[in-house]
C-alpha cells in the first residue's frame, strides 16, 4: 500500500475562489492510501514545494498528488520537488483542478464536488504508480537544417560558429530562399541581395557547414540526439566538382521557354539554368521537363559547349544517409494561389500582379531590368492600386484566417519606392488596417503617406474589372468617407497572403512534428518555447512557425540555433521513462504491435521464458526504450494486454475511470 500525500493549491484565488480547498483536502484523507493532506496558498512557490518535501520526509510518503493547475504547467516543478525529497519523480500525479475545474465552473459546491472526484482519480492512479527511471541515449554532434533561406542560413551559421557540424538541405538549386527574390527591404530600404549574398557566401565557405542544394529530405528515423536522415540529392546532370560556373551552357541552351521560377514566371529561362546570378552553388541544373536532350534524345548542346566536361546526362538521384543530433526546420513560405480570388482578375489580366512579382519587376536583375511597366503592353503605368489583405484575415475558408504580417510594410515600401522613382505615378492603397508595430515601422509608413503622398484608403476592393481600353476598373469602398470608389488603374498589385511552403506537411510527418490547421509548425509552447517543436530535438526557424519579417526571422533563427547548440553540447540525454513494455509471459509474438509503432521501436526476439514452470523458447516483443516515445498505440493493438505503457498503464487508467464513475 502506498503512503500518499495530497497537496491542494489555492493558486491565490484562482482555485480557492471557486473550490473549497479545505474540503478537497479533507475528502482526500478518506481515500485509500492517503496519509497526509493539506492545502496551501501557492504550492508551486518555494514555500509550497518545501511543504511537499517536508511531508515526504516526515511521513515517509511513497506517492504525491498535487491538486493544482494543469500538469502541463507545473508537473515538472512538483516532480523535481519530490526528487529533492528522495522520492521518485514519477510517483507524483497532478489533479488539474484549475483549468479543468475552478476556471470553468461558477458554483462552488459543484466545482468542489468535481475537484474531489478529480483528486480521487489522481489518488487512484498514484496508488498504482511505480518508480520509473529514465534511460540514457547518446547525442550525435551534428545538426541538420532543412531549408536554405535566410532562416536556415542564419541558424546554420550560428550553430557552425559554435563549433558543430551542420548540413543544410535546400530543395532549390541554390540557397537564398525568398529573400533572394526581394529587391529592397523595409524599413531601411537597403538592397536585399547586398545583405543576403555575404551570408550565403559565408555559409558556403564555412568549414563546418555542408550544403545539399537541389536535395530533399526523404526519410527520418530515430529520435532526439540520434536521428538518421536520408537525403535525396536530385540529379543535376552537372558535375558539381567539374563545373566552373562559366554560364556558357545556359547561354547556348536552345530551349529557353521554361518559365523562370525565380522570376515568378514573369519571364523564361533556359532548360539548363542557375536560378539567379549570385546562386550558391554557382552550378546549374538541367530541368528535364524542358530539356530537348531528355525529351527527344537529340541535342546535347550543353555537353558540347562545356569545356570542363561537367555535363553528365546519366546522373541519378543519390541518397545520402546521415546521423544528426538536432534538426532545425526552416522551410519558409510561399504566396497563396489566387484561384479563390477571381474578383481581382489575377488570371484575366497580366497587369494584376502579386507583390512578390512586383519585387522581381522592381529588381534591376528582374524580368524588366528594374523598369516599372505593364506586362500587357510594356507601357509605364500612371495609376497604381495596391490591394491589401488578399487572402489574409479571411473569415471563410477562401483564404487564411491569420494576418500575413509583412504586407503592410512591404506595400508601404513599394509605394514609397515607386513614388520616389516615378513621381508621376499615382499610388492608391486599399487597406483594412495598417499594422506597423516594429522598430521604425510606423515612421516608415508615415513617410509613405506624408512625404511621398501615397493615397491610403480604408476599405476593401470588391472587384477589379479589365476594361476594353486596357485599363483596370477597381471597384472599392471608402469606409471613412462612406462612399463607393470607382478607379481606373493601369496596374493592380495584390498583397497576397503567405502560407507555409508546400511539402512542409510531409516533412512534419516525417519528423513527427506537429503542425496546425494552417500548416504552420506548432511550437512546444506558444510563449515559453517558441522555437522548439513539441517533438524533442526538432527546432523551428523562420516563417515555417508563423508569419514574420526578416529581422524577426533572423532573431528566431539565432534562437533556434541556441536551442540546438544546447542540445548538441550534451553528451547524453535522459529519455522519457513512460515507454511501452512487453510482458514476456503474456506476449504472443504476433507482430501486431510492431505494425502500428511509428518509431520502429519494437523488435522480436526468441527468448527462453519460464511460464510458471513451463520452460520454452518464445518469440517475444522487445521495446527499445530509447526509440519508444510512449504513444501507446501498441498497447491497444495487443490483444493479450502484454504491451503496457509505463506511467499510463492499463490498470492506472482503469483506476481513474473507476474513480470518476464511482
Amino acid at each position: 500500500m502506498q503512503r500518499i500525500g495530497v497537496f491542494v493549491c489555492h493558486c491565490g484565488s484562482n482555485i480557492a475562489a471557486t473550490v473549497d480547498v479545505k474540503k478537497v483536502a479533507e475528502m482526500a484523507l478518506l481515500e485509500p492510501g492517503v496519509v497526509h493532506a493539506e492545502d496551501y496558498q501557492y504550492m508551486c512557490s518555494e514555500a509550497g514545494q518545501e511543504k511537499i518535501i517536508e511531508a515526504i520526509r516526515e511521513k515517509n510518503l511513497t506517492g504525491v498528488v498535487v491538486c493544482s493547475c494543469s500538469p502541463r504547467m507545473h508537473e515538472t516543478t512538483f516532480r523535481k520537488a519530490a526528487e529533492k525529497a528522495g522520492l521518485n519523480p514519477y510517483m507524483v500525479e497532478i489533479a488539474n483542478i484549475r483549468e479543468h475545474c475552478s476556471w470553468i465552473h461558477k458554483d462552488m459546491e459543484e466545482a468542489t464536488k468535481k475537484a474531489v472526484i478529480l483528486t480521487r482519480a489522481a489518488i487512484a492512479k498514484v496508488n498504482l504508480n511505480t518508480p520509473l527511471k529514465p534511460g540514457e541515449s547518446r547525442v550525435t554532434k551534428r545538426a541538420l537544417v532543412i531549408g536554405g533561406g535566410i532562416a536556415g542560413i542564419q541558424t546554420a551559421l550560428d550553430i557552425a560558429d559554435a563549433g558543430y557540424e551542420v548540413d543544410i538541405v535546400e530543395r532549390e538549386p541554390s540557397i537564398g530562399g525568398r529573400m533572394s527574390q526581394l529587391d529592397k527591404t523595409f524599413p531601411t530600404l537597403d538592397c536585399s541581395a547586398c545583405i543576403l549574398t555575404p551570408k550565403m557566401v559565408e555559409a558556403s565557405a564555412h568549414e563546418k557547414i555542408n550544403i545539399y542544394t537541389y536535395s530533399e529530405v526523404e526519410k527520418v528515423s530515430g529520435f532526439v540526439g540520434d536521428f538518421t536522415v536520408d537525403i535525396r540529392k536530385k540529379a543535376r546532370y552537372v558535375d558539381m566538382d567539374k563545373c566552373t560556373g562559366c554560364g556558357v551552357c545556359q547561354e547556348k541552351c536552345p530551349s529557353k521557354k521554361a518559365p523562370s521560377e525565380f522570376n515568378r514566371g514573369l519571364n523564361t529561362r533556359s532548360a539548363i539554368y542557375t536560378p539567379f546570378a549570385q546562386a550558391i552553388p554557382n552550378v546549374p541544373v538541367i530541368d528535364t521537363d524542358s530539356c530537348i536532350k531528355f525529351k527527344t534524345g537529340k541535342c546535347g548542346v550543353c555537353s558540347k559547349v562545356c569545356q570542363a566536361g561537367a555535363i553528365d546526362y546519366t546522373q541519378k538521384d543519390e541518397i545520402v544517409s546521415q546521423k544528426y543530433g538536432a534538426i532545425v526546420v526552416a522551410t519558409g513560405f510561399d504566396t497563396i494561389k489566387l484561384d479563390n480570388y477571381d474578383e481581382y482578375a489575377y488570371s484575366q489580366s497580366k497587369d494584376v500582379i502579386t507583390s512578390l512579382e512586383l519585387e522581381r519587376i522592381m529588381n534591376a536583375a528582374g524580368p524588366t531590368k528594374g523598369h516599372l511597366e505593364r506586362f500587357s503592353d510594356g507601357k509605364a503605368p500612371k495609376e497604381m492600386v495596391f490591394i491589401q489583405c488578399v487572402g489574409s484575415r479571411c473569415a471563410d475558408d477562401r483564404g487564411k484566417p491569420y494576418c500575413s504580417k509583412i504586407c503592410c510594410m512591404y506595400t508601404a515600401k513599394h509605394a514609397m519606392l515607386i513614388r520616389d522613382k516615378y513621381p508621376d505615378v499615382n499610388v492608391t492603397v486599399f487597406y483594412i488596417d495598417v499594422r506597423t508595430p516594429g522598430k521604425n515601422f510606423d515612421e516608415f509608413y508615415r513617410r509613405a503617406v506624408e512625404q511621398y503622398g501615397v493615397n491610403y484608403i480604408k476599405g476593401q476592393v470588391g472587384k477589379v474589372i479589365p476594361q476594353p481600353n486596357g485599363k483596370l476598373l477597381v471597384q472599392g469602398s471608402d469606409l471613412l468617407d462612406n462612399r463607393q470608389i470607382l478607379k481606373e488603374a493601369d496596374m493592380v498589385v495584390l498583397a497576397t497572403a503567405i502560407e507555409p511552403n508546400e511539402g512542409v506537411r510531409k516533412i512534419a510527418t516525417m519528423l513527427t512534428a506537429s503542425i496546425d490547421t494552417n500548416n504552420f509548425l506548432t511550437e512546444a509552447h506558444a510563449k515559453l518555447r517558441p522555437v522548439e517543436s513539441p517533438t524533442a530535438g526538432i527546432f523551428l526557424s523562420g516563417v515555417c512557425q508563423g508569419p514574420k519579417d526578416i529581422p524577426e526571422t533572423v532573431a528566431q533563427a539565432g534562437a533556434a540555433a541556441v536551442k540546438a547548440i544546447g542540445l548538441l553540447a550534451k553528451d547524453k540525454l535522459l529519455t522519457n521513462p513512460c515507454t511501452a513494455q512487453s510482458d514476456e509471459l503474456l506476449c504472443n509474438g504476433c507482430s501486431t504491435c510492431a505494425n502500428v509503432c511509428p518509431y520502429g521501436a519494437i523488435s522480436y526476439e526468441d527468448k527462453e521464458v519460464n511460464d510458471h514452470g513451463i520452460r520454452e523458447t518464445r518469440r517475444i516483443a522487445v521495446v527499445n526504450s530509447a526509440l519508444c516515445q510512449g504513444c501507446g498505440a501498441c498497447t491497444v493493438t495487443c490483444p493479450s494486454g502484454a504491451m503496457d505503457l509505463q506511467g499510463f498503464s492499463n490498470r492506472q487508467i482503469l483506476a481513474e475511470v473507476d474513480a470518476i464513475c464511482r
Binding site: L585, L586, N588, C590, S591, P639, N650, R651
Partner: protein, 324 residues
C-alpha cells in the same frame, strides 16, 4: 477418405511427417474428435466425413512445438485460419504438411436435433463419397431423413469458397454450398431500432454461461493468456453476478479479433447455448469492408490488417450516427 488415409500412411512411412492431425471416429455417428495419429496402425480410426467440422488449424500452435512435421487436414475455410496464424507467427509453416481436404459442407448435429430427430443410431449420407443430398437417419424411434443442406452449419451456407488458400497437396472434391448472403442477418439487425437491437442481443447473451468455448476454439483467440484470464484489466473469465460482463466479454473478444477473424464460424458451432456469436465478428467484417475496403483475413499473409492500417481520408467515427 481412403485416398487420404493412404496418402497419410505413405507420408508417415517415408518419414515426411511425424504425425497426422485429423479426426478420429467417435462412438456415436456424429461425434468424431480431432486427434493425432502417429502410426500407420492408428490410422485405422481415422475418419473424415460431414461431421468433421472442427477447424484443426489452432492445434498447430502446439504441434509446431513438436519434433518433426505434422500432417494436418484442412478444409478450404480452415486454411484462412492457418494463414492468419502464420501471419501472426503463432505456427511454423515448416512444421506443417498441409493436405487440403475437399469439403461438401459440414453438418450441425444441433440442427438435426432441432428437427426433432432423437435417439440417433446411424446416419447415412454424411460420408464424403456419398453423392445424395439427403441424410437418412435411423433412430430408436424410427427412420427419419432430412436434406443435407438443411442440416449444414450456418457457416457453410455462406461459404467463402472451395479454394484452399494454402496447401502442400489437395485431396478430394469440394462442393459449392453457398446459398445465402453472409451479411443478411447483420443487415437485418442493423435495420432494427435501438430498442429492438438491445432486446435481441440481451436475449441471446442472457444464455451465455461463460464457458469460453467460443474463445478457446477460436483460432484468432490464440493468446497465451487471454485478457479475461489475466488480472491486468480486472475482468473475470467466469460468470459474474451481473450480466454486464458477458456483453463486455463478447464485444471485447470480437474487437480483439477484428481484422483477424477469418469468419470460420467455429464460435457459433461450439456454443452450447446456440448463441449466433458470428454476428459480432461479421458486424466488424461488414463495417471494415464498407469503411476501409474489402478485406478477408487469412487470404493474403502479407496484407496489412485493417486495424493496424489507416488512410488519411478514413471515415470519421461520426459516420455511425449519420448512417442512421
Amino acid at each position: 477418405m481412403q485416398e487420404l488415409i493412404k496418402r497419410a500412411k505413405e507420408l508417415l512411412e517415408d518419414g515426411t511427417v511425424a504425425r497426422v492431425l485429423g479426426w478420429k471416429a467417435g462412438d456415436l455417428p456424429y461425434n468424431p474428435e480431432p486427434a493425432y495419429f502417429d502410426s500407420t496402425e492408428s490410422l485405422a480410426d481415422f475418419v473424415y466425413n460431414g461431421f468433421c467440422g472442427a477447424n484443426l488449424s489452432k492445434y498447430l500452435i502446439e504441434a509446431s512445438k513438436l519434433e518433426g512435421k505434422t500432417l494436418v487436414c484442412l478444409k478450404p475455410c480452415d486454411t484462412y485460419s492457418f494463414n492468419q496464424l502464420l501471419k501472426e507467427h503463432r505456427i511454423d509453416r515448416d512444421k506443417a504438411y498441409v493436405i487440403g481436404v475437399g469439403c461438401k459442407g459440414k453438418l450441425d448435429i444441433e440442427r438435426i436435433r432441432k428437427m426433432g430427430i432423437k435417439g440417433i443410431e446411424q446416419i447415412s449420407g454424411a460420408e464424403m463419397e456419398d453423392a445424395a443430398d439427403t441424410l437418412t437417419i435411423s433412430t430408436i424411434y424410427g427412420e427419419r431423413s432430412c436434406k443435407f443442406a438443411d442440416a449444414m452449419l450456418e457457416r457453410c451456407h455462406v461459404c467463402k469458397g472451395k479454394e484452399h488458400q494454402v496447401y502442400d497437396e489437395l485431396i478430394g472434391e469440394s462442393k459449392e454450398t453457398k446459398d445465402a448472403d453472409r451479411f443478411a442477418e447483420v443487415a437485418r439487425i442493423e435495420a432494427m431500432t435501438p430498442e429492438e437491437k438491445f432486446a435481441f442481443f440481451q436475449k441471446e447473451l442472457s444464455k451465455c454461461i461463460r464457458c469460453n468455448a467460443c474463445r478457446n476454439v477460436c483460432p484468432a483467440c490464440s493468446c497465451r493468456k487471454c485478457v479475461f484470464d489475466s488480472n491486468k484489466f480486472d475482468s473475470a473469465q467466469k460468470a459474474n453476478v451481473d450480466s454486464f460482463e458477458e456483453k463486455m466479454f463478447h464485444i471485447i473478444r470480437a474487437f480483439h479479433v477484428a481484422g483477424r477473424c477469418t469468419d470460420c464460424g467455429e464460435c457459433s458451432r461450439v456454443c452450447p447455448q446456440g448463441i449466433p456469436l458470428h454476428l459480432f465478428n461479421r458486424k466488424f467484417i461488414k463495417d471494415i469492408d464498407e469503411f476501409y475496403g474489402e478485406y478477408q483475413a487469412g487470404m493474403d499473409v502479407n496484407a496489412q490488417s485493417p486495424l493496424t492500417d489507416f488512410t488519411f481520408g478514413d471515415v470519421e467515427p461520426g459516420i455511425v450516427g449519420e448512417r442512421g
